[in-house]
Amino acid sequence: MDLCTDNAMPQHPKTLNDIPQDIVALFKAHHVSKSLRRQPKVYTDTSNFTSIDYGDIIHIDGRYFLVTAYAVEGRFGVDDQPKQWVPKVHDLVSGQSLILKLVFHETFSVDIGNFTINCYRNPEKEARILEYTQGHERFMQGYSVEDDAGNLVRILDVVPGRRLDKHIYRHECSHEEYFYTYLPALLREFLACAQAIGFLHRGGFRHGDIRRDHIYVEYGTNLFRWIDFDYDFYLPERPFALDLFELGNLLMFLIVRGDCRERDFIEHHYIDEAFLSTISAEDYSLVSKTRIVNLQKIFPYIPVELNQICMHFSQKSSVWYDTADEFCVDLEKAVATLS
């Protein structure tokens, strides 16, 4: 299939009339075009991503990407919301499904316990991480390229898999059965992901948004992979603290198979209100005062080695992890006791 070179095309194509006819033919053969009630636009400048819609084409890096949907994500207590700067696309020539991340700079504050931390959406950081982690099986893969306006667009391979926070609920069983039957394999994969975070940190990068829906579990292999590293935070003296804190939260989420707040344990009938009187202040999270981290008190079958990792995030602790590598050393020992 011949594609026109840029020399034969207008500088900024805007409609189907401005792109090669063979691409137009591919578009018309695509199911998206059948349901479109308007003329699609063709974008080479993605600055105003809110105007890019389903059925439009983004032309960058010599490729033609047809917008077929948008990624969604829940945040700040609001259920899954579409992310207009993250269109899901089909490469019209190769037929490949991909995700594009368009440039969107954002600064906001996040409350962690009683503290407020400034966070930033940083597309440039994500682009550098994509380069740094090229070929690493624990990270989503892709590359970045500038559009006509100099926006750094990230072109990402889709991770064919299930979100971790959905994956762990696949089997209906008691917590004890989950703990002995499924958790060891989950923790081995999580350990590999935590080691991957260590790799990032050694390269001077933070993940910036470690959370339970930012690990995807690949179909078939059950390999855990990180996605979404365009967030950053600013803690000059403890540059990786938030990543470490969230690694701890994620570990506890996996152990508990849910959240660790008092009301979560009560709602799931792991404990009752009377039991709370046996939980002391030292059993709670250093930062989030309603989260119980001394999980062995709730689930006595949790081995000491694993519980000790959680206790490093407790109010009792005066020694905490400075690096992801320290966290991984302890986690590796704990995982070995479960195998």
């Binding site: 700079h105 600064t107 962690i112 316990g113 009683n114 503290f115 931390i117 400034n118 930033y120 940083n122 440039e124 950081k125 001077g204 950053d232 600013y234 803690l235 000059p236 003296e237 403890r238 540059p239 603290a241 938030l242 804190f245 250093l286 930062v287 109010q315 602790s317 005066s318 905490w320």
Partner: protein, 151 residues
């Protein structure tokens, strides 16, 4: 062990630095051969910095101006204890690719300072976990030099 009389004092624009420098003045007053250096370290700019159109040169200039005012405020405190102001060195540095404590330690190491003096604010464990404590971090690395912590 490095020479204890080479003293590196980490300062910033807080009132605590006044107390730190005052303490140093009281302790070393009358000692011959003491060399004092005041060090102000500042972090790299935040992630949104360049995207907002700022440039690094102006950022560094601003920080150095603030540091200069701090030094101008603190040097007379030491001079009040008979320490010759002309002998007091001042250093202002950006912690490039480093935490603040690591940058301070790097300066200490390069200058072979035998004594480090720091202020300690007194923060909660949770705050220390997230935001760090420079004095704690430096104490942990004080293998071949002395640390004075003033709170």
């Amino acid at each position: 062990m490095a020479d204890w009389q080479k003293i590196l004092v980490a300062v910033d624009d807080s009132n605590l630095s006044n107390r730190v420098v005052d303490y140093v003045g009281q302790v070393v007053s009358g000692h011959a051969g003491v060399q004092i250096s005041l060090l102000q370290v500042y972090p790299e700019p935040p992630p949104c910095f360049y995207q907002e159109g700022h440039n690094l040169k102006e950022f560094k200039q601003e920080k150095e101006e603030v540091a200069h005012e701090v030094f101008q405020r603190l040097i007379p405190v030491l001079a009040g204890y008979g320490i010759d102001a002309e002998t007091i060195q001042t250093l202002c540095q950006m912690a490039e690719g480093n935490s603040l404590s690591k940058e301070i330690l790097k300066v200490r190491d390069q200058g072979r300072f035998g004594t480090m003096v720091l202020g300690r604010r007194g923060i909660s464990k949770a705050e220390e976990f997230l935001f760090g404590s420079i004095s704690t971090a430096i104490l942990r690395e004080s293998h071949d030099f002395t640390v004075w912590v003033v709170s």
